[in-house]
Protein backbone atom coordinates (compact mmCIF):
# COMPACT_ATOMS: atom_id res chain seq x y z
CA UNK A 1 0.00 0.00 0.00
CA UNK A 2 2.69 2.45 1.00
CA UNK A 3 4.47 1.73 -2.25
CA UNK A 4 1.49 2.41 -4.45
CA UNK A 5 0.72 5.65 -2.62
CA UNK A 6 4.22 6.87 -3.23
CA UNK A 7 3.43 7.24 -6.93
CA UNK A 8 0.41 9.39 -6.27
CA UNK A 9 2.01 11.73 -3.81
CA UNK A 10 5.29 12.34 -5.55
CA UNK A 11 4.90 15.42 -7.76
CA UNK A 12 5.40 14.71 -11.43
CA UNK A 13 4.83 16.70 -14.54
CA UNK A 14 5.17 13.91 -17.04
CA UNK A 15 2.63 11.12 -16.87
CA UNK A 16 5.07 8.99 -18.84
CA UNK A 17 8.81 9.43 -18.69
CA UNK A 18 11.38 7.28 -20.48
CA UNK A 19 15.16 7.50 -20.35
CA UNK A 20 17.45 5.28 -22.45
CA UNK A 21 14.51 2.90 -22.77
CA UNK A 22 15.76 -0.31 -24.37
CA UNK A 23 14.19 -3.61 -25.34
CA UNK A 24 16.22 -6.45 -26.75
CA UNK A 25 14.90 -9.80 -28.00
CA UNK A 26 17.94 -12.04 -28.17
CA UNK A 27 20.20 -10.29 -30.65
CA UNK A 28 17.48 -8.07 -32.01
CA UNK A 29 17.35 -4.55 -30.63
CA UNK A 30 13.66 -3.60 -30.94
CA UNK A 31 13.91 -0.33 -29.01
CA UNK A 32 17.32 1.26 -28.82
CA UNK A 33 17.69 3.63 -25.88
CA UNK A 34 14.92 6.18 -26.48
CA UNK A 35 14.00 9.18 -24.31
CA UNK A 36 10.60 10.85 -24.21
CA UNK A 37 8.20 12.62 -21.86
CA UNK A 38 4.46 12.67 -22.24
CA UNK A 39 2.54 15.27 -20.30
CA UNK A 40 -0.93 15.10 -18.77
CA UNK A 41 -3.71 15.97 -21.21
CA UNK A 42 -1.40 15.82 -24.18
CA UNK A 43 -2.02 13.78 -27.28
CA UNK A 44 1.22 12.05 -28.20
CA UNK A 45 2.05 9.89 -31.18
CA UNK A 46 4.67 7.36 -32.20
CA UNK A 47 4.92 7.56 -35.95
CA UNK A 48 6.91 5.01 -37.88
CA UNK A 49 6.81 2.09 -40.29
CA UNK A 50 5.98 -1.49 -39.29
CA UNK A 51 8.75 -2.97 -37.19
CA UNK A 52 10.06 0.41 -35.99
CA UNK A 53 9.52 -0.58 -32.34
CA UNK A 54 6.27 1.33 -31.77
CA UNK A 55 4.24 -1.59 -30.44
CA UNK A 56 7.10 -2.78 -28.25
CA UNK A 57 7.33 0.69 -26.73
CA UNK A 58 3.57 0.71 -26.14
CA UNK A 59 3.75 -2.68 -24.43
CA UNK A 60 6.50 -1.41 -22.16
CA UNK A 61 4.46 1.69 -21.31
CA UNK A 62 1.46 -0.47 -20.43
CA UNK A 63 3.71 -2.57 -18.17
CA UNK A 64 3.03 -5.66 -20.26
CA UNK A 65 6.62 -6.03 -21.37
CA UNK A 66 9.67 -5.89 -19.13
CA UNK A 67 12.29 -3.49 -20.44
CA UNK A 68 15.85 -4.67 -20.92
CA UNK A 69 17.43 -1.47 -19.59
CA UNK A 70 16.86 2.23 -19.03
CA UNK A 71 14.07 3.70 -16.93
CA UNK A 72 10.36 4.02 -17.58
CA UNK A 73 7.87 5.59 -15.19
CA UNK A 74 4.15 5.74 -15.84
CA UNK A 75 2.07 7.89 -13.47
CA UNK A 76 5.15 8.06 -11.28
CA UNK A 77 5.47 4.28 -10.98
CA UNK A 78 8.21 2.02 -12.36
CA UNK A 79 6.67 -0.22 -15.04
CA UNK A 80 8.84 -3.20 -14.12
CA UNK A 81 7.68 -3.10 -10.51
CA UNK A 82 4.05 -1.96 -10.53
CA UNK A 83 2.37 -3.65 -13.50
CA UNK A 84 -1.09 -4.20 -11.99
CA UNK A 85 -1.16 -0.75 -10.30
CA UNK A 86 -0.24 0.94 -13.57
CA UNK A 87 -2.60 -1.07 -15.73
CA UNK A 88 -5.42 -0.31 -13.29
CA UNK A 89 -5.18 3.33 -14.39
CA UNK A 90 -4.56 2.86 -18.10
CA UNK A 91 -6.90 2.25 -21.00
CA UNK A 92 -5.35 -0.11 -23.52
CA UNK A 93 -6.47 -0.64 -27.09
CA UNK A 94 -4.32 -3.36 -28.65
CA UNK A 95 -3.55 -3.59 -32.34
CA UNK A 96 -5.91 -6.56 -32.80
CA UNK A 97 -9.36 -6.16 -31.24
CA UNK A 98 -9.28 -9.43 -29.29
CA UNK A 99 -12.90 -9.17 -28.28
CA UNK A 100 -14.76 -12.13 -26.82
CA UNK A 101 -16.65 -13.20 -29.93
CA UNK A 102 -18.91 -15.58 -28.03
CA UNK A 103 -20.22 -12.93 -25.68
CA UNK A 104 -22.61 -10.15 -26.55
CA UNK A 105 -21.51 -6.54 -26.99
CA UNK A 106 -22.73 -5.44 -23.57
CA UNK A 107 -21.18 -8.44 -21.78
CA UNK A 108 -17.82 -7.78 -23.39
CA UNK A 109 -17.82 -4.43 -21.64
CA UNK A 110 -19.04 -5.64 -18.26
CA UNK A 111 -16.73 -8.67 -17.95
CA UNK A 112 -13.77 -6.48 -18.81
CA UNK A 113 -14.84 -3.82 -16.31
CA UNK A 114 -14.98 -6.46 -13.59
CA UNK A 115 -11.27 -7.20 -14.11
CA UNK A 116 -10.61 -3.77 -12.63
CA UNK A 117 -12.41 -4.60 -9.42
CA UNK A 118 -15.55 -2.52 -9.98
CA UNK A 119 -18.92 -3.64 -8.63
CA UNK A 120 -21.46 -5.20 -10.99
CA UNK A 121 -23.73 -2.15 -10.71
CA UNK A 122 -20.87 0.18 -11.54
CA UNK A 123 -19.74 -1.75 -14.63
CA UNK A 124 -23.32 -1.96 -15.90
CA UNK A 125 -23.77 1.82 -15.64
CA UNK A 126 -20.41 2.50 -17.21
CA UNK A 127 -21.11 0.05 -20.04
CA UNK A 128 -24.41 1.78 -20.79
CA UNK A 129 -22.64 5.16 -21.00
CA UNK A 130 -19.97 3.77 -23.28
CA UNK A 131 -22.49 2.14 -25.62
CA UNK A 132 -23.68 5.65 -26.39
CA UNK A 133 -20.18 7.04 -26.65
CA UNK A 134 -19.14 4.29 -29.08
CA UNK A 135 -22.44 4.63 -31.00
CA UNK A 136 -23.26 0.98 -30.41
CA UNK A 137 -26.54 1.43 -28.58
CA UNK A 138 -28.55 -0.62 -31.12
CA UNK A 139 -25.95 -3.39 -31.01
CA UNK A 140 -26.18 -3.85 -27.25
CA UNK A 141 -27.46 -7.44 -27.33
CA UNK A 142 -25.68 -8.56 -30.49
CA UNK A 143 -22.89 -11.11 -30.56
CA UNK A 144 -19.53 -9.59 -31.36
CA UNK A 145 -19.03 -11.91 -34.33
CA UNK A 146 -21.87 -10.07 -36.07
CA UNK A 147 -20.27 -6.60 -35.88
CA UNK A 148 -18.48 -4.82 -38.73
CA UNK A 149 -14.77 -4.02 -38.47
CA UNK A 150 -15.41 -0.39 -37.53
CA UNK A 151 -17.93 -1.38 -34.85
CA UNK A 152 -15.54 -3.93 -33.36
CA UNK A 153 -12.88 -1.25 -33.18
CA UNK A 154 -15.26 1.14 -31.44
CA UNK A 155 -16.22 -1.62 -29.02
CA UNK A 156 -12.55 -2.26 -28.29
CA UNK A 157 -12.12 1.44 -27.57
CA UNK A 158 -15.20 1.45 -25.35
CA UNK A 159 -13.81 -1.59 -23.54
CA UNK A 160 -10.53 0.22 -22.96
CA UNK A 161 -12.49 3.08 -21.36
CA UNK A 162 -14.35 0.90 -18.86
CA UNK A 163 -12.04 1.95 -16.02
CA UNK A 164 -12.29 5.67 -16.96
CA UNK A 165 -8.54 5.88 -17.59
CA UNK A 166 -6.56 9.09 -17.35
CA UNK A 167 -4.13 7.76 -19.94
CA UNK A 168 -5.40 5.99 -23.04
CA UNK A 169 -2.99 3.92 -25.15
CA UNK A 170 -3.99 3.05 -28.70
CA UNK A 171 -1.85 0.83 -30.91
CA UNK A 172 -2.72 1.63 -34.54
CA UNK A 173 -6.31 2.59 -33.78
CA UNK A 174 -7.57 2.76 -37.35
CA UNK A 175 -5.43 0.31 -39.31
CA UNK A 176 -7.64 -1.76 -41.59
CA UNK A 177 -10.69 0.49 -41.38
CA UNK A 178 -12.42 2.20 -44.29
CA UNK A 179 -12.25 6.02 -44.47
CA UNK A 180 -15.71 6.59 -43.05
CA UNK A 181 -15.07 4.31 -40.08
CA UNK A 182 -11.76 6.06 -39.47
CA UNK A 183 -13.41 9.47 -39.35
CA UNK A 184 -16.01 8.28 -36.85
CA UNK A 185 -13.19 6.91 -34.70
CA UNK A 186 -11.12 10.08 -34.92
CA UNK A 187 -14.15 12.06 -33.84
CA UNK A 188 -14.56 9.84 -30.75
CA UNK A 189 -10.89 10.13 -29.86
CA UNK A 190 -11.03 13.86 -30.31
CA UNK A 191 -13.84 14.02 -27.76
CA UNK A 192 -11.73 12.11 -25.26
CA UNK A 193 -8.91 14.53 -25.82
CA UNK A 194 -11.26 17.44 -25.20
CA UNK A 195 -12.27 15.82 -21.92
CA UNK A 196 -8.65 15.91 -20.84
CA UNK A 197 -7.68 12.29 -21.41
CA UNK A 198 -4.01 11.83 -22.24
CA UNK A 199 -3.85 10.00 -25.57
CA UNK A 200 -0.82 7.99 -26.61
CA UNK A 201 -1.04 6.35 -30.00
CA UNK A 202 1.04 4.65 -32.62
CA UNK A 203 0.29 4.98 -36.27
CA UNK A 204 1.83 4.67 -39.67
CA UNK A 205 -0.76 7.02 -41.12
CA UNK A 206 0.32 10.62 -41.58
CA UNK A 207 -3.20 11.99 -41.70
CA UNK A 208 -3.98 10.26 -38.42
CA UNK A 209 -0.95 11.73 -36.72
CA UNK A 210 -1.78 15.18 -38.10
CA UNK A 211 -5.41 14.89 -36.99
CA UNK A 212 -4.87 13.60 -33.50
CA UNK A 213 -1.39 14.38 -32.19
CA UNK A 214 -0.26 17.54 -30.44
CA UNK A 215 3.24 16.21 -30.50
CA UNK A 216 4.90 13.16 -31.92
CA UNK A 217 8.14 11.33 -32.30
CA UNK A 218 9.19 9.78 -35.57
CA UNK A 219 10.58 6.30 -34.87
CA UNK A 220 12.69 4.23 -37.21
CA UNK A 221 14.59 1.03 -36.42
CA UNK A 222 14.14 1.43 -32.69
CA UNK A 223 15.39 5.00 -32.42
CA UNK A 224 13.69 8.41 -32.38
CA UNK A 225 14.76 10.35 -35.46
CA UNK A 226 12.73 13.51 -34.85
CA UNK A 227 10.36 15.04 -32.36
CA UNK A 228 7.88 17.91 -32.40
CA UNK A 229 4.36 18.97 -33.35
CA UNK A 230 3.19 17.87 -36.80
CA UNK A 231 3.43 21.48 -38.00
CA UNK A 232 6.89 22.13 -36.60
CA UNK A 233 8.21 18.87 -38.04
CA UNK A 234 6.91 19.83 -41.47
CA UNK A 235 8.44 23.29 -41.12
CA UNK A 236 11.75 21.88 -40.01
CA UNK A 237 12.13 18.99 -42.41
CA UNK A 238 10.06 19.94 -45.42
CA UNK A 239 8.87 22.89 -47.48
CA UNK A 240 5.44 24.45 -47.38
CA UNK A 241 4.33 22.72 -50.57
CA UNK A 242 5.25 19.74 -52.71
CA UNK A 243 4.85 19.21 -56.42
CA UNK A 244 4.33 15.60 -57.48
CA UNK A 245 5.30 14.98 -61.07
CA UNK A 246 4.85 11.74 -63.00
CA UNK A 247 6.72 11.13 -66.20
CA UNK A 248 6.27 7.36 -66.44
CA UNK A 249 8.57 5.08 -64.47
CA UNK A 250 11.27 4.88 -67.17
CA UNK A 251 11.67 8.63 -67.50
CA UNK A 252 11.47 9.80 -63.87
CA UNK A 253 15.23 9.67 -63.26
CA UNK A 254 15.96 11.51 -66.48
CA UNK A 255 13.34 14.16 -65.71
CA UNK A 256 14.79 14.67 -62.24
CA UNK A 257 18.12 15.67 -63.78
CA UNK A 258 16.35 18.33 -65.82
CA UNK A 259 14.61 19.62 -62.69
CA UNK A 260 17.77 20.35 -60.71
CA UNK A 261 17.65 23.87 -59.31
CA UNK A 262 13.90 24.10 -59.08
CA UNK A 263 12.58 24.22 -55.52
CA UNK A 264 14.63 23.43 -52.41
CA UNK A 265 15.05 19.73 -52.91
CA UNK A 266 14.13 16.80 -55.16
CA UNK A 267 13.14 13.28 -54.30
CA UNK A 268 12.94 10.56 -56.94
CA UNK A 269 10.51 7.73 -56.13
CA UNK A 270 9.87 4.74 -58.41
CA UNK A 271 6.57 6.16 -59.65
CA UNK A 272 7.05 9.92 -59.32
CA UNK A 273 9.38 12.85 -58.71
CA UNK A 274 8.74 15.13 -55.72
CA UNK A 275 9.80 18.76 -55.90
CA UNK A 276 9.93 20.45 -52.50
CA UNK A 277 9.20 24.18 -52.81
CA UNK A 278 7.48 26.87 -50.77
CA UNK A 279 5.50 27.89 -53.82
CA UNK A 280 4.38 24.83 -55.68
CA UNK A 281 2.65 26.53 -58.59
CA UNK A 282 5.74 28.62 -59.37
CA UNK A 283 7.94 25.51 -59.28
CA UNK A 284 5.57 23.70 -61.61
CA UNK A 285 5.66 26.65 -64.01
CA UNK A 286 9.47 26.61 -64.04
CA UNK A 287 9.43 22.91 -64.87
CA UNK A 288 7.07 23.44 -67.79
CA UNK A 289 9.28 26.34 -68.83
CA UNK A 290 12.20 23.95 -69.15
CA UNK A 291 10.21 21.98 -71.67
CA UNK A 292 9.27 19.13 -69.35
CA UNK A 293 5.90 17.54 -69.98
CA UNK A 294 4.78 15.43 -67.00
CA UNK A 295 1.93 13.00 -67.65
CA UNK A 296 0.39 14.25 -64.44
CA UNK A 297 1.18 16.88 -61.85
CA UNK A 298 -0.14 17.74 -58.43
CA UNK A 299 0.63 20.60 -56.08
CA UNK A 300 -0.14 19.78 -52.45
CA UNK A 301 0.77 20.85 -48.95
CA UNK A 302 3.68 19.11 -47.29
CA UNK A 303 2.73 16.29 -44.94
CA UNK A 304 4.42 14.12 -42.36
CA UNK A 305 4.95 11.59 -45.12
CA UNK A 306 7.46 14.03 -46.60
CA UNK A 307 9.10 14.48 -43.22
CA UNK A 308 9.51 10.76 -42.89
CA UNK A 309 10.90 10.45 -46.40
CA UNK A 310 13.38 13.18 -45.67
CA UNK A 311 14.49 11.66 -42.39
CA UNK A 312 14.80 8.05 -43.41
CA UNK A 313 15.02 8.10 -47.20
CA UNK A 314 12.11 5.70 -47.29
CA UNK A 315 8.36 5.92 -47.64
CA UNK A 316 6.42 5.14 -44.51
CA UNK A 317 4.26 2.43 -46.01
CA UNK A 318 6.14 -0.11 -48.16
Amino acid sequence: MADTRKGLLSPFVSVIRARSLTKRYGNFLAVDGIDFDIEAGESFGFLGPNGAGKSTTMRMISAQSTRTSGTLDVLGLDTNEYGPEIRAQLGIVPQADQLDEELRVFDNLTTYGRYFGFSRAHVRNRAEELLDFAQLREKRGVRVSELSGGMKRRLTIARGLMNSPKVFLLDEPTTGLDPQARHILWDRLFRLKEQGTTLVLTTHFMDEAEQLCDRLVVVDKGVIVAEGSPRSLIQQYSTREVVELRFGSSRNAWAAEQLVGIGDRLEVLPDRVLVYADHGEAALESAVHRGLEPTSSLVRRSSLEDVFLRLTGRSLIE
Partner: protein, 267 residues
Protein backbone atom coordinates in the same frame (compact mmCIF):
# COMPACT_ATOMS: atom_id res chain seq x y z
CA UNK B 1 -6.07 2.97 -6.26
CA UNK B 2 -8.82 1.23 -4.31
CA UNK B 3 -9.97 -0.73 -7.34
CA UNK B 4 -6.39 -1.74 -8.11
CA UNK B 5 -6.10 -3.10 -4.60
CA UNK B 6 -9.38 -4.95 -5.03
CA UNK B 7 -8.21 -6.40 -8.33
CA UNK B 8 -4.95 -7.42 -6.66
CA UNK B 9 -6.93 -9.43 -4.13
CA UNK B 10 -9.90 -10.63 -6.17
CA UNK B 11 -8.54 -10.83 -9.72
CA UNK B 12 -8.72 -14.63 -9.69
CA UNK B 13 -12.42 -14.38 -8.86
CA UNK B 14 -13.14 -12.06 -11.80
CA UNK B 15 -11.32 -14.46 -14.13
CA UNK B 16 -13.44 -17.35 -12.84
CA UNK B 17 -16.55 -15.22 -13.25
CA UNK B 18 -15.76 -14.59 -16.90
CA UNK B 19 -15.19 -18.29 -17.42
CA UNK B 20 -18.49 -19.20 -15.83
CA UNK B 21 -20.34 -16.54 -17.84
CA UNK B 22 -19.50 -18.63 -20.89
CA UNK B 23 -21.35 -21.63 -19.46
CA UNK B 24 -24.56 -19.64 -19.86
CA UNK B 25 -24.19 -19.96 -23.60
CA UNK B 26 -24.34 -23.76 -23.51
CA UNK B 27 -25.86 -24.66 -20.15
CA UNK B 28 -28.70 -26.69 -21.66
CA UNK B 29 -26.26 -28.87 -23.62
CA UNK B 30 -24.07 -29.18 -20.54
CA UNK B 31 -26.97 -30.26 -18.36
CA UNK B 32 -28.38 -32.72 -20.89
CA UNK B 33 -25.03 -34.39 -21.56
CA UNK B 34 -24.07 -34.30 -17.87
CA UNK B 35 -27.28 -36.08 -16.89
CA UNK B 36 -27.55 -38.21 -20.00
CA UNK B 37 -24.10 -39.79 -20.04
CA UNK B 38 -24.16 -41.24 -16.50
CA UNK B 39 -27.60 -42.60 -17.24
CA UNK B 40 -26.45 -44.29 -20.45
CA UNK B 41 -23.13 -45.56 -19.05
CA UNK B 42 -24.55 -46.85 -15.79
CA UNK B 43 -27.45 -48.50 -17.59
CA UNK B 44 -25.25 -50.10 -20.22
CA UNK B 45 -22.43 -51.22 -17.97
CA UNK B 46 -24.61 -52.06 -14.97
CA UNK B 47 -27.20 -54.09 -16.80
CA UNK B 48 -25.11 -55.57 -19.60
CA UNK B 49 -21.49 -56.00 -18.62
CA UNK B 50 -22.36 -55.94 -14.90
CA UNK B 51 -24.68 -58.94 -15.13
CA UNK B 52 -22.13 -60.91 -17.17
CA UNK B 53 -19.29 -60.16 -14.73
CA UNK B 54 -21.33 -60.73 -11.59
CA UNK B 55 -22.49 -64.13 -12.94
CA UNK B 56 -18.93 -65.15 -13.78
CA UNK B 57 -17.70 -64.09 -10.38
CA UNK B 58 -20.21 -66.43 -8.83
CA UNK B 59 -21.77 -63.77 -6.63
CA UNK B 60 -18.44 -62.56 -5.24
CA UNK B 61 -18.69 -59.35 -7.28
CA UNK B 62 -15.60 -57.26 -7.86
CA UNK B 63 -13.72 -56.30 -4.75
CA UNK B 64 -16.64 -57.65 -2.75
CA UNK B 65 -19.34 -55.46 -4.34
CA UNK B 66 -21.53 -55.80 -7.44
CA UNK B 67 -19.77 -54.67 -10.60
CA UNK B 68 -22.07 -51.67 -11.01
CA UNK B 69 -21.10 -50.39 -7.55
CA UNK B 70 -17.44 -51.03 -8.30
CA UNK B 71 -17.44 -49.16 -11.61
CA UNK B 72 -19.67 -46.20 -10.68
CA UNK B 73 -17.12 -43.99 -8.84
CA UNK B 74 -14.65 -44.65 -11.65
CA UNK B 75 -17.12 -43.60 -14.33
CA UNK B 76 -17.91 -40.37 -12.51
CA UNK B 77 -14.26 -39.58 -12.00
CA UNK B 78 -13.18 -40.40 -15.53
CA UNK B 79 -15.94 -38.11 -16.84
CA UNK B 80 -14.57 -35.36 -14.59
CA UNK B 81 -11.02 -36.02 -15.75
CA UNK B 82 -12.00 -35.79 -19.39
CA UNK B 83 -14.08 -32.67 -18.83
CA UNK B 84 -11.24 -30.96 -17.01
CA UNK B 85 -8.70 -32.07 -19.57
CA UNK B 86 -10.78 -30.79 -22.49
CA UNK B 87 -11.53 -27.44 -20.89
CA UNK B 88 -7.91 -26.95 -19.95
CA UNK B 89 -6.58 -28.02 -23.33
CA UNK B 90 -8.74 -25.87 -25.54
CA UNK B 91 -9.49 -23.19 -22.97
CA UNK B 92 -5.85 -22.55 -22.17
CA UNK B 93 -4.59 -22.74 -25.73
CA UNK B 94 -7.52 -20.68 -26.94
CA UNK B 95 -6.92 -18.09 -24.23
CA UNK B 96 -3.64 -17.29 -25.92
CA UNK B 97 -4.51 -17.96 -29.56
CA UNK B 98 -8.22 -17.97 -30.32
CA UNK B 99 -10.32 -16.18 -27.72
CA UNK B 100 -7.33 -14.12 -26.46
CA UNK B 101 -8.81 -14.10 -22.96
CA UNK B 102 -5.43 -14.02 -21.32
CA UNK B 103 -4.07 -11.36 -23.62
CA UNK B 104 -7.11 -9.23 -22.82
CA UNK B 105 -6.88 -9.87 -19.09
CA UNK B 106 -3.24 -8.85 -19.21
CA UNK B 107 -4.33 -5.35 -20.24
CA UNK B 108 -6.07 -5.07 -16.85
CA UNK B 109 -4.63 -5.34 -13.34
CA UNK B 110 -5.09 -9.15 -13.47
CA UNK B 111 -1.81 -11.02 -12.94
CA UNK B 112 -0.77 -14.25 -14.70
CA UNK B 113 -1.07 -16.16 -11.41
CA UNK B 114 -4.65 -14.94 -11.04
CA UNK B 115 -5.42 -16.04 -14.59
CA UNK B 116 -4.12 -19.55 -13.88
CA UNK B 117 -6.00 -19.90 -10.59
CA UNK B 118 -9.19 -18.18 -11.75
CA UNK B 119 -9.45 -20.21 -14.94
CA UNK B 120 -9.10 -23.42 -12.97
CA UNK B 121 -11.79 -22.30 -10.57
CA UNK B 122 -14.11 -21.54 -13.49
CA UNK B 123 -13.42 -24.96 -14.99
CA UNK B 124 -14.04 -26.52 -11.58
CA UNK B 125 -17.57 -25.11 -11.66
CA UNK B 126 -18.18 -26.88 -14.96
CA UNK B 127 -16.71 -30.24 -13.88
CA UNK B 128 -18.57 -30.03 -10.58
CA UNK B 129 -21.82 -29.79 -12.54
CA UNK B 130 -20.82 -32.98 -14.36
CA UNK B 131 -20.01 -34.70 -11.07
CA UNK B 132 -23.19 -33.47 -9.38
CA UNK B 133 -25.32 -34.88 -12.19
CA UNK B 134 -23.66 -38.27 -11.67
CA UNK B 135 -24.35 -38.05 -7.96
CA UNK B 136 -28.03 -37.42 -8.66
CA UNK B 137 -28.25 -40.42 -11.01
CA UNK B 138 -26.35 -42.63 -8.53
CA UNK B 139 -28.75 -41.72 -5.75
CA UNK B 140 -31.89 -41.99 -7.88
CA UNK B 141 -30.80 -45.37 -9.29
CA UNK B 142 -30.14 -46.56 -5.77
CA UNK B 143 -26.50 -47.51 -6.44
CA UNK B 144 -25.46 -45.74 -3.25
CA UNK B 145 -27.28 -43.66 -0.65
CA UNK B 146 -27.22 -39.92 -1.42
CA UNK B 147 -25.06 -39.18 1.63
CA UNK B 148 -22.35 -41.54 0.36
CA UNK B 149 -22.65 -40.44 -3.26
CA UNK B 150 -22.20 -36.80 -2.21
CA UNK B 151 -18.79 -37.69 -0.77
CA UNK B 152 -17.64 -38.29 -4.34
CA UNK B 153 -17.88 -34.54 -4.99
CA UNK B 154 -14.76 -33.44 -3.08
CA UNK B 155 -12.78 -36.30 -4.65
CA UNK B 156 -14.00 -35.23 -8.09
CA UNK B 157 -13.03 -31.61 -7.40
CA UNK B 158 -9.55 -32.57 -6.28
CA UNK B 159 -9.10 -34.66 -9.42
CA UNK B 160 -10.43 -31.88 -11.66
CA UNK B 161 -7.94 -29.40 -10.26
CA UNK B 162 -4.97 -31.82 -10.35
CA UNK B 163 -5.63 -32.90 -13.94
CA UNK B 164 -6.50 -29.34 -14.91
CA UNK B 165 -3.28 -27.74 -13.74
CA UNK B 166 -1.25 -30.63 -15.17
CA UNK B 167 -2.82 -30.23 -18.61
CA UNK B 168 -2.55 -26.44 -18.51
CA UNK B 169 1.11 -26.56 -17.52
CA UNK B 170 1.82 -28.44 -20.75
CA UNK B 171 -0.67 -26.73 -23.06
CA UNK B 172 0.54 -23.24 -22.06
CA UNK B 173 3.98 -24.09 -23.46
CA UNK B 174 2.50 -24.96 -26.87
CA UNK B 175 2.78 -22.11 -29.34
CA UNK B 176 1.13 -23.61 -32.43
CA UNK B 177 -1.50 -26.30 -32.71
CA UNK B 178 -0.26 -28.86 -35.19
CA UNK B 179 -2.69 -31.47 -33.97
CA UNK B 180 -0.70 -32.32 -30.84
CA UNK B 181 -3.49 -31.03 -28.63
CA UNK B 182 -6.09 -33.48 -29.92
CA UNK B 183 -3.44 -36.17 -30.03
CA UNK B 184 -2.78 -35.88 -26.32
CA UNK B 185 -6.51 -35.73 -25.66
CA UNK B 186 -7.20 -38.89 -27.60
CA UNK B 187 -4.10 -40.98 -27.03
CA UNK B 188 -2.96 -39.98 -23.57
CA UNK B 189 -5.89 -38.71 -21.50
CA UNK B 190 -8.64 -40.94 -22.85
CA UNK B 191 -6.60 -44.19 -22.70
CA UNK B 192 -5.70 -43.32 -19.10
CA UNK B 193 -9.30 -44.20 -18.33
CA UNK B 194 -8.58 -47.78 -19.44
CA UNK B 195 -5.38 -48.27 -17.42
CA UNK B 196 -6.32 -46.61 -14.15
CA UNK B 197 -8.21 -49.40 -12.45
CA UNK B 198 -11.38 -47.95 -13.85
CA UNK B 199 -13.25 -50.88 -15.36
CA UNK B 200 -11.29 -53.55 -13.49
CA UNK B 201 -8.94 -53.51 -10.48
CA UNK B 202 -5.43 -52.30 -11.32
CA UNK B 203 -4.03 -55.59 -9.96
CA UNK B 204 -5.64 -57.43 -12.90
CA UNK B 205 -3.16 -55.73 -15.26
CA UNK B 206 0.20 -57.46 -15.79
CA UNK B 207 2.80 -56.06 -13.39
CA UNK B 208 4.72 -54.26 -16.12
CA UNK B 209 1.65 -52.13 -16.95
CA UNK B 210 0.60 -51.29 -13.42
CA UNK B 211 2.92 -48.30 -13.21
CA UNK B 212 0.54 -46.47 -15.54
CA UNK B 213 -2.00 -46.54 -12.74
CA UNK B 214 0.46 -45.35 -10.15
CA UNK B 215 1.26 -42.19 -12.07
CA UNK B 216 -2.32 -41.70 -13.23
CA UNK B 217 -4.21 -39.09 -11.22
CA UNK B 218 -7.38 -40.95 -12.17
CA UNK B 219 -6.32 -44.14 -10.36
CA UNK B 220 -5.50 -42.25 -7.18
CA UNK B 221 -8.88 -40.51 -7.32
CA UNK B 222 -10.75 -43.71 -8.17
CA UNK B 223 -9.29 -45.46 -5.11
CA UNK B 224 -10.47 -42.57 -2.96
CA UNK B 225 -13.84 -42.60 -4.70
CA UNK B 226 -14.38 -46.30 -3.98
CA UNK B 227 -13.48 -45.78 -0.39
CA UNK B 228 -15.86 -42.89 0.17
CA UNK B 229 -18.77 -44.39 -1.79
CA UNK B 230 -18.85 -47.95 -0.51
CA UNK B 231 -15.96 -48.29 1.93
CA UNK B 232 -13.64 -50.28 -0.34
CA UNK B 233 -10.97 -52.07 1.65
CA UNK B 234 -7.96 -49.76 1.25
CA UNK B 235 -5.33 -49.31 3.98
CA UNK B 236 -5.21 -45.89 5.58
CA UNK B 237 -1.64 -45.11 4.51
CA UNK B 238 -2.62 -45.64 0.89
CA UNK B 239 -5.52 -43.23 1.20
CA UNK B 240 -3.08 -40.65 2.50
CA UNK B 241 -0.75 -41.30 -0.42
CA UNK B 242 -3.63 -40.87 -2.88
CA UNK B 243 -4.58 -37.49 -1.44
CA UNK B 244 -0.97 -36.34 -1.26
CA UNK B 245 -0.30 -37.40 -4.83
CA UNK B 246 -3.23 -35.36 -6.15
CA UNK B 247 -2.45 -32.33 -3.99
CA UNK B 248 1.22 -32.41 -4.97
CA UNK B 249 0.40 -32.79 -8.66
CA UNK B 250 -1.94 -29.80 -8.47
CA UNK B 251 0.53 -27.64 -6.55
CA UNK B 252 3.57 -28.38 -8.72
CA UNK B 253 1.79 -28.01 -12.05
CA UNK B 254 -0.02 -24.87 -10.89
CA UNK B 255 3.36 -23.31 -10.11
CA UNK B 256 4.72 -24.40 -13.49
CA UNK B 257 1.65 -22.98 -15.24
CA UNK B 258 2.05 -19.63 -13.53
CA UNK B 259 5.68 -19.43 -14.59
CA UNK B 260 4.81 -20.28 -18.19
CA UNK B 261 1.99 -17.73 -18.26
CA UNK B 262 4.27 -15.03 -16.88
CA UNK B 263 6.92 -15.66 -19.50
CA UNK B 264 4.50 -16.02 -22.35
CA UNK B 265 2.55 -12.84 -21.64
CA UNK B 266 5.59 -10.62 -21.01
CA UNK B 267 6.74 -10.09 -24.56
Amino acid sequence: MTTAVKARRWGWWFVAEHRVSHIRAYWITLLVTSLGSPFVYLLGLGLGLGILIDENQGGAGVGGVPYLTFVTPALLLSAVMQGSSQENTFGTFGGFKWTHWYITQYASPITPAQMVLGSQLGILVRTSITAACYVVVIAVAGIAPLGRALLLLPVAMLLSVAVGFAVTSWVATQVDDRGQLSFVERFVVTPLALFSGTFYPLEVLPAYLQWIGWISPLWHAVELGRWVMYGADIPGWRLVVHVLFLVALAAVTAALSIRTFERRLDK
